[in-house]
Symmetry: C2
Subunit: 441 residues, 2 copies
C-alpha cells in the first residue's frame, strides 16, 4: 500500500498533537496564524533566521547544511540575485502589458536553452500555475482530457493540478480523467525499465480511451522526484513519450525539479532521455526564491488555446522576476554550476555507493548530478522498504545539523537535493555524517 | 449583448494584425517571445523603463500619469518596500516549513485588520491561487459545488477560477455549476439595488439547486471592478450575502481589487456593506508588486478542507513576501493612505460630477475612495452605452500622457484606479486632461 507524500512528510513533520512542541511559543503562534494548513518540518520545528550558500542559520545559533531545498538552487541569498532584484524593484515592477527590454532579454536567454519548437514562453508565478495552464493548452490541442501521471507524482496545488498529483491525496483515488502509472523503478521493472514504463503508458491510454476521455497529456518530472528519484538508464523515457504521442497526446516535461542544471549532464532533465517535450513547465529554481515560473510551448499550441479563453497573469513576467531569472542564468554560467552539479554529484554518488557496499540497509544509490535517491531497506532486499529507518535517519541527521527529506511511495527514499553550489567538502561532510548516524542504528 | 473583458481590453489593446505597430522591433520581439498569449496595451504599445509614485517613464522619455494600475498601490517603486525586500532577500528567502518570526509578525499584523473569526491565513503567490483554494475550502465546508458570480466578474486565471470568471470567456457560457448574475448596477435595478441584487442571488440559488449542484459559494469583488465599479448605496450587499447564507452557501469576499485601503472608507471593500465574509481573498496590492496573495479563513473551515487533501505553496508565505507585505501595511499607516484615498478620491469624484453636469456624454460618476467608474453614454441616457467614445478617450488620454482602462459589460466605463499616493494636483491634472480630451470629441 503506497503512502502519500503527505504521509511521508508526516514522518518527519511536526504534529499538532505533540504537547511539548506545541507548548513552544513560536509554534503556538504559527499554529494560531496558519491553522490546519500549517506545514512544518520536524516534530521540533526549527526557527530559521538567515542562510547563505548551502547553509542555514537557526535562531538558537545552530547552523544546518541544507540538503533538502531546491528553491535557492544557486545558493541561499546569492548576492547577484539579491542585487538584480533590488536594482529592478527600484526601477520598475509592472505587469507585462507594457513593453520592457528586461523581460524580452530574459525570455530570449531562456529560449536559447530550450528546444527550438518551444519558442513561446508564458511566465507565471508558480509551477502550479504553469502546470495548470499547460493542462489546458494540451486539452485545446488534443481535444481530449485524459492525463497520465506517475503514482506518487506531485505537480502543484491548484484544483486542476492537485487532481494530477496523487501524492497530495489523503483519501480517494485520482478522478476518472487521470490514470496514475507505476514509477520507472528498478524494483518494479527490473532490467527493462524503458519497455515496462512504456507498457504502463499504453495500458493507461487504453484505460482513458475506455473511459471516454482519450489522451490529452502524459506529464512527468523527468527525475521522478516525489516518486523516489529515477534517472537510469538514460533514455528510458523515450518509448513512453512515443507511446503517448502515437495515441494523440502531448508530452509535458515538468522541469520544476530537474531543470536549471541540477542533473549535471544537461540544463533540463528531459535532455538525459533524448526526448523533445511538447511543453516544458518550470518553477522553483528559476528565480532562486523569487516567485516565478513558466510554460514554454509551441506558438501554434498557444494559438489554439487562446482562441477559446483569455489568459493573463498579473505578476507573471514582471521585470523584477525577469531580472531575478536572468541573474540565475548568469550565476549558473559564471559559476559553472551545471559542471559543479555533475562533478560534486558524481563524487557524492560514489561515496554513497561505498556506503551501500558496506551497509546492507542502504540500497544502491540512484540519480543524476545533485539529485540523488537513496533507499533504506531491510536486509539488503530492495523490495523491502524500511521507512522507519529513513525517519530515524532524517531526525538523526537533523541532530547532526543536516536537513534532508524523504520521497517515494513508501517514504523510504532519502531525497538528496542540496544547492548546486555545494562543494566537495560539504558533500563529504554529508556522507560522513550519514554514515555516523547510520552506525547509531 | 455583453462584451467580455477580453473584448474590452481589445478596444485599447495592441492587435497583431496592425502592420505598422508590428513592424517595430520591440513589438516583434515581444510577439516572438510570448506569442498568442501576449497582452499589450494600446495599438502602439509603450515601452516602459521606470516608474515612481503615480508616474511611469517610457523609453522615449515621455512620462505618464498612471490611473490604471492597482498593483503598485502605495506608489511605484516605493523605497520602503524595496528596502524591506532587499534586506530580507539578503537574509533568508525560504518556504514556510521552518518557523520564522518575520512571517508570523506579518500574519499577526494582517489579522488585526480582519474580522476575528477569520483567524487563519494561508499565504499564496497570486490572487488566482487564493481564489482557487477558497473555492475548494467552500466545497469542503458546504458539500456543494454551485458558485454564484457577477456577469462580468474576473477572479483569476487557473482552470477552476477561470470557470467563475465570465469576463475571461471568449466563447461559450459558464460551466453548469456556475451561475452569473447581473451586476448591482443602477441601470439594472434602479432604486432598489439591494433588493434586486438579492433577488438575483435567490434566482441563481434556485437554478443551481435545480441543476443538482446546490450552493457552495457566492463570490464577489465588493467594488465590482470588472463589472463597471458599483459602490452605492453602502450596505446593498448585505441582503445578497444573507440570501446566500440562508441557502447554506459561504460568502467569499474577493478583495484583490478593493482591499488594502483603496476605497478610503475602510481597509476592506466589504466593510462598506457591513457584511462579514466567510473567507477573504487578497492579492495584487498586498506586496506592492511583490508576488504575494492569500486567503483568510475560519480555522474550522480549513480543518474540514485539510481532511481530504494536503495543500502546500512553496513560495507562499516566504519571509521576503512577508517583509514586503509588512512594509506595505506600514506605508499605508505612516502615509495615511486610506485617508488620502478618501480625501483625494472625494475631490476627484466631485470634479467628475462637475464634468458630468456639463457634458451629457458623461454619466454620473460612481465609486469609493480611489476607485471610480465613469460611464460614457449617448445623449445623457445611462441606458445607452458609448464604448466607442470610451475607446477614443482612452487613446486620447494616452496621447496626453494619462494611462487608463475600461470596464463593464459594454466597455463604456472608464476604470479610474490610480495609486493610493495620488495627490490633489495629480487628481486635478487628470480631471483637466479628461475634460480637454472630451472636448476634442
Amino acid at each position: 500500500m503506497a503512502r502519500s507524500t503527505r504521509q511521508i512528510l508526516d514522518m518527519n513533520a511536526f504534529r499538532a498533537d505533540d504537547a511539548e512542541a506545541k507548548a513552544r511559543e513560536t509554534v503556538k503562534r504559527r499554529l494560531a496564524n496558519t491553522g490546519a494548513l500549517s506545514v512544518l518540518f520536524y516534530r521540533e520545528p526549527i526557527e530559521m533566521v538567515s542562510a547563505e550558500g548551502a547553509w542555514m542559520q537557526a535562531a538558537n545559533g545552530e547552523r544546518y547544511l541544507d540538503f533538502y531545498n531546491n528553491v535557492p538552487s544557486v545558493g541561499h541569498t546569492h548576492p547577484k540575485v539579491v542585487e538584480a532584484v533590488t536594482r529592478q524593484m527600484g526601477r520598475l515592477n509592472i505587469h507585462s502589458r507594457y513593453l520592457n527590454q528586461v523581460v524580452d532579454n530574459y525570455l530570449e536567454r531562456l529560449k536559447e536553452r530550450l528546444p527550438d519548437p518551444l519558442s513561446n514562453i508564458v511566465l507565471t508565478c508558480t509551477g502550479s500555475e504553469a502546470n495548470d495552464l499547460a493542462l489546458r493548452v494540451a486539452e485545446a490541442v488534443t481535444g481530449a482530457r485524459g492525463v497520465i501521471v506517475t503514482e506518487t507524482a506531485y505537480h502543484g496545488n491548484t484544483a486542476a493540478v492537485t487532481a494530477i498529483s496523487p501524492s497530495a491525496f489523503k483519501q480517494a483515488s485520482p478522478p476518472a480523467h487521470v490514470v496514475a502509472i507505476p514509477a520507472p523503478a528498478p524494483t518494479r521493472f527490473e532490467e527493462d525499465i524503458a519497455g515496462g514504463f512504456a507498457a504502463s503508458v499504453e495500458e493507461a491510454i487504453a484505460t482513458l480511451k475506455g473511459r471516454g476521455y482519450g489522451l490529452s497529456a502524459f506529464i512527468c518530472d523527468s527525475i521522478f522526484s516525489s516518486d523516489g528519484v529515477f534517472a537510469d538508464p538514460a533514455g528510458f523515457l523515450r518509448p513512453a513519450v512515443e507511446a503517448a504521442r502515437a495515441a494523440g497526446g502531448v508530452y509535458i516535461a515538468d522541469e520544476v525539479q530537474p531543470g536549471f542544471a541540477r542533473t549535471g549532464d544537461a540544463f533540463w532533465g528531459f535532455a538525459r532521455h533524448g526526448v523533445e517535450p511538447d511543453m516544458v513547465t518550470m518553477g522553483k529554481p528559476m528565480g532562486n526564491g523569487f516567485p516565478m515560473a513558466g510554460v514554454a510551448a509551441k506558438p501554434e499550441d498557444l494559438s489554439r488555446f487562446s482562441a477559446a479563453v483569455g489568459y493573463f497573469n498579473t505578476f507573471g513576467g514582471n521585470p523584477v522576476a525577469a531580472a531575478a531569472g536572468a541573474a540565475v542564468l548568469s550565476v549558473i554560467e559564471e559559476e559553472r554550476l551545471q559542471e559543479n552539479a555533475r562533478d560534486v554529484g558524481s563524487h557524492l554518488l560514489s561515496r554513497l555507493h561505498d556506503l551501500a557496499a558496506r551497509d546492507a540497509r542502504v540500497g544502491t544509490p540512484r540519480g543524476a548530478g545533485l539529485f540523488i535517491g537513496l533507499d533504506l531497506i531491510e536486509e539488503g532486499d530492495a523490495h523491502r522498504p524500511d521507512p522507519e529507518l529513513a525517519s530515524r535517519l532524517i531526525n538523526g541527521l537533523k541532530r547532526e545539523h543536516v536537513l534532508i527529506g524523504a520521497a517515494g511511495p513508501y517514504g523510504h527514499t532519502l531525497k538528496i537535493r542540496p544547492p548546486l553550489c555545494l562543494n566537495r567538502s560539504e558533500a563529504d561532510l554529508f556522507a560522513d555524517t550519514l554514515e555516523r548516524v547510520l552506525s547509531e542504528g
